[in-house]
C-alpha cells in the first residue's frame, strides 16, 4: 500500500478538491499505485534513467533578436488586465 495523502498532494498542486473528490481519488489512485508497485520487482541496478525517448543535448539557437508577441497580443487572453498589465489578486497586504 502506498502512503499517498491526496489532500496534502492537492495543496502542493494548487488544486482545491471537494471532500468527495479527495475520497474518490484516494481509492482510485491507491489502485494505480498498488499496480505500479510491481516496478519494484525489476532489477534496475546500474541502469541509467531515461528522461527522454531520444536524448539530444546541447541544443541551442543563434543568439539573435526574433519577432515575438506585442504587449497587446500577450494580454489578449488575460482574464483581467488593465494599464498593460495582468491583474491578479492582492499578494501583499
Amino acid at each position: 500500500m502506498s502512503d499517498l495523502d491526496v489532500a496534502y498532494v492537492a495543496r502542493l498542486a494548487r488544486l482545491e478538491l471537494t471532500a468527495e473528490e479527495t475520497a474518490l481519488f484516494q481509492t482510485q489512485l491507491a489502485q494505480v499505485l498498488d499496480h505500479a508497485a510491481r516496478l519494484r520487482e525489476v532489477d534496475v541496478e546500474g541502469i541509467e534513467p531515461a528522461a527522454l525517448a531520444l536524448p539530444k543535448f546541447d541544443v541551442g539557437r543563434e543568439d539573435e533578436v526574433r519577432p515575438s508577441f506585442t504587449q497587446t497580443e500577450a494580454l489578449r487572453h488575460a482574464p483581467r488586465a488593465a494599464h498593460g498589465l495582468f491583474i491578479v489578486p492582492k499578494v501583499i497586504e
Binding site: E16, L29, H77, P89
Partner: protein, 516 residues
Amino acid sequence: MTPLDLPGLTIVELQKLLRAREVSPREVLLALHERIESVDPGINAYLWRDLDAALAAAEAADVSLPLGGIPLAIKDAISVEGQPCTCSSKILQGYCGMFDATAISRLRAAGAVPFGRTNMDEFAMGSSTENSSVQPTRNPWDRARVPGGSSGGSAAAVAAGTALASLGSDTGGSIRQPAALSGVVGLKPSYGRVSRYGLVAFASSLEQIGPLTKTVRDAALLLEAMAGVDPNDSTSLDAPVPAYSSGLETDLRGLRLGLPKEYLSDAIDPEIRSAIDAAVAQFGSLGAEIVEVSLPHTEYAIDTYYLIATAEASANLARFDGVRYGFRAGENGGTVAVPSAALAGDDQTGTGQRPSLQSERSTSLFEHYARTRAEGFGAEVKRRIILGTYVLSSGYYDAYYLRAQKVRTLIRRDFSRAFEQVDALISPTTPEPAFLLGERAADPFRMYLADIFTNAANLAGICAISLPCGFAGAAMANPLPIGLQIMAPVLEEMRLLQLAHAFEQNTEWHQRRPAL
C-alpha cells in the same frame, strides 16, 4: 458522382479530381460542410468550424501543390492561428491559437486547409473521448460505443467521412487506439520526427503529432509534408525526410517480422487474436519471414507510462493558473467554489499569510490558483495532476519517478534487441474492440488498460502505425473494427509505411465504411 461523395474519398482520389479540374477546392469544402451538417450531430466529432475562412483559403489554394486544396480536421490540442484551441477543457474556454504549430504551417505550405477542430479527451488524457468537457464523441460503427481516445474526434471524423483526413497527437496511443477502434489508419511518428511546436504539452518526452487517414498512402502524404527538424522544437530530429508517399511499393520477401509473445496473451479478445493470426499469415504469404520475439519488460510498460506521463503532466499543466489566459474562477459570472477542507492547512502561499477562507472572492493568490484549477479542470486531469505531483514529491521521487525512468531504459533496450533480429514488430493495437459509452468512465484504471499495447512505443520513441485488419462480431448488426499495430525502429517510417501499404493492398478492410 454527386458532390456529397467527395468527403468520403481519400486524399489521393480527391487530388486527381482537383488536378483534373473536375471539382474545385470550394466545391470540396461545401460538400464537406454539408456532410458534417447531416452526419456529425449523431457523432459529435467536431467542436468548431469556420466555413467562410476555410472557403477563402480554399479559393486561394494551388491544387498543384502536394496537398493543394485538401481540407484537414485538426485535434483541439494543436494550435492554428485564429482558431479556438481548448484541448476540450473548460480552463481554455475562449482561447484562440496565437500562431500556427509547425506541423500546421508546413501543411499550409503544402496547400492544405485546416478546417475544423476535433473533440478529444481533455488535455489528451483518456482513451474514449468521454473526458471531453464539451461532449462525448460516438463511434460511427456503433453509436452506443466510444471511438477511442484521446484523438477520438479526429478518428471518428475520418471514419464517418466527415473529414478527408485529420491530425491527432499520440502520447501513449492516442492516435493508434482511436484509429483501431474507429477503423482508420493512424500513425505515431518516431519521437522527434514531427515538431511538437504548437502542440499543447501534456507529456513532453512521449508525445508526437501524427495523421489519421483512410489509407496508408494518405498517411505518408501528410507525414512527408509535416516531418523534419524545427528550430522551435529542440527535440526534433535533424534527419532527411524521405518521399514517403512515392516509396511505398516494396517486395516483402526477405523481410523479418517479429511477433512479440507478450502481446499475444490470453487477455486479448479471441476475435482480435484471430484477426492478428490472419494478418500474420497474410504477411507470410507476401514473403515476409515471421519469427517470435520477446520484449521481456512489456508487462511493466503501463505502470512506467502512467508514472512518467502524469509526472510530466503535473509540471506542464502548472501553467494553467488563470492569470495570463484561459478560465479564471470568479470572473465573467463564473461561480466561486465553497472552500474545502483541503485548503484549511498550513500556509502554502509562500507569502507569509494564511489563505483567508472568509471572503467569497479569491482573496489570496493561493485560493485564486486552487479554485481556478478546481473549476477549470475535469476529474481525469485532476486525478493525473495529483498522481504526477505525488510521484515527483520529496520522499517518493526515487521510488516512483526515477525507478520508472530506469525501467523505461529497459523497455527501450528490449526494442533495440528485438530490432537486431527483425525489421519490424506486429501486434494487436488494442486488447478489445470499442467499448460502450459509460462502461469504463467510473473505473480509471480499467480505462488505462486500453493503452496496454500502445504505451511502449512512446516510451521507446519508436514509430508505430495502426491499420484496419478485420471486424469483431461480423455476424452482428454493428461489427466493430480491429486494428493491427506495426512498430519499427526510430526514423524507419518508410519501412513501417511500406509494410502497412503492402498489407492494405492485399486486404479490403480499409474500404469498408460505416452505414450512416
